[in-house]
Amino acid sequence: MKRKRISTALAQGKREDGRGLMDFRKIVIKKGILEKAEGSAEVWLGDTRVIAGVKVGVGEPYQDTPNQAVLTVNAEFTPIASPTFEPGPPDETSIELARVVDRGIRSSEAIDFEKYCIIPGKAVYVIFIDICILNYAGNLIDASALAALAALQSTKVPKYVAEGGEVKPLDASEPLELRDLPIAVTVGKIDGSLIVDPTADEEDVMGTRFTVTVNQEGNICALQKSGPEGLTLEEIRKAINIALEKAPEIRKLLMES
């Protein structure tokens, strides 16, 4: 029934909340909302509300990348976000969410991992991005990717120095250097219509979800397709073009807030 209502509206180029197929809901970005995290941000995408916190510490590098900082992205669906969420360990949806956000940041090389190495093979910066979903109203990927990036923009990295093979904290910090701003744009397909920024109801009836992450130069730095239906090559091209068009608009909002 829900499906029928949504797809009838889409066939006429309309959506339930009155938006056009290519319109995002209202985006609000607040940076630096928490004092105890090195970086933080809150993003509203309509009624979807997420918080990202960045914690920076020092730890051991991975053996295969001894001179690179470690980045860990973790997402949690808090049970307050929806009546259908139960508390418990991360499920596949939250793991996928974290990994899509992670891939965008990693493959755009937004963070210079080599710069954040203190003693090669022994001590590097460890950057944790934790995403906390406070209200679920659809399109968590775009909202979370944006919150993660906004939180990184507000991040102050505590300074450490290497002294005789030991790591010593200095009583100082500097802003995290970000070399890129990868923006995720999720396109949904319902009965052959492509839409951006799906609501929870639209996600329920969506056959395919396709996320395209676009960097500052307009290159694609991450893709993720999910959902039971397939996409034609034509639809893939269309979705990528939509993302290429929408990403700069969102990036502009991010830079202005």
Binding site: K36, V54, F128
Partner: protein
């Protein structure tokens, strides 16, 4: 005993006097998907609470035939403390979930909703001492916001002893370095204490003083809960009228 002085010339490190609360902000109805919700700031504490229910309890074997089950979950975001903590629940979280439940349960009419659950989910976005009290204060506002019948609101506040002085509303460092911490939850209209714990050492006289101070704090916090709820549900200038 403690290395750092916590009170210098009668003033605490964050500038408060011994009997002063931290700045508190409470807002009701902040989450569209929850049946009731509240956001609270107390000092640097940032807490958001969502309430769901009464609803069917799953798994069903946990349901009670003659009353609802109140379920509370106290959870800290990984970035809420320094250094980052694991998102998995700790033993402390489990205990706090229980004491929060015990502090709220006397205010509820659980017998009205047999086999159901009422779920109170507390998310600590930033922790700065006395979070269990702040969680109870916020949860109580969220329960009223959900329209769940209650005997009274529950207001909670801590008192404690730092640098040999009894003080109100411990912050993080005072909690960690101080000599005693006494969290109290209270139903102000019914005059009943629903949470009382203590950690540390107090003489009977100090305990008396601390308890009274905490109750004074609860009464002040009650007024703030009241204001928050009224600003959400009562039009300006409306208060008392006859028709």
């Amino acid at each position: 005993m403690s290395k750092k002085k916590l009170i210098v010339k009668g003033v605490r490190l964050d500038g408060r006097k011994w009997n002063e609360l931290r700045p508190i902000k409470i807002e009701g109805g902040v989450l569209p998907n929850a049946d009731g919700s509240a956001y609270l700031e107390q000092g640097r504490n940032r807490i958001i609470v969502g309430v769901f229910g009464p609803r069917e309890l799953h798994p069903k074997h946990l349901a009670k035939p003659h009353k609802a089950v109140l379920r509370c979950r106290y959870h800290m975001a990984p970035f809420s403390v320094d250094p980052r903590r694991s998102p998995a629940p700790s033993r402390r979280d489990t205990e706090l979930s229980m004491v929060i439940r015990n502090a709220l349960e006397p205010a509820l009419f659980l017998e009205r909703y047999p086999r159901a659950s009422i779920d109170v989910f507390v998310e600590i976005l930033q922790a700065d001492g006395s979070t269990r009290c702040a969680s109870i204060t916020a949860a109580s506002v969220a329960l009223v916001d959900a329209g769940i019948p209650m005997r009274d609101l529950v207001a909670a506040c801590s008192a404690g002893k730092i640098d040999s002085e009894v003080v109100l509303d411990l912050n993080d460092i005072e909690d960690k370095e101080g000599e005693a911490d006494l969290p109290v939850a209270y139903m102000p209209k019914l005059g009943k204490v629903t949470l009382l714990q203590m950690d540390g050492m107090l003489s009977p006289e100090e305990f008396d003083k601390a308890l009274n101070l905490a109750l004074e704090g609860c009464n002040k916090i009650y007024e703030l809960q009241r204001e928050a709820l009224k600003s959400r549900y009562v039009k300006q200038g409306e208060g008392r009228s006859a028709e």
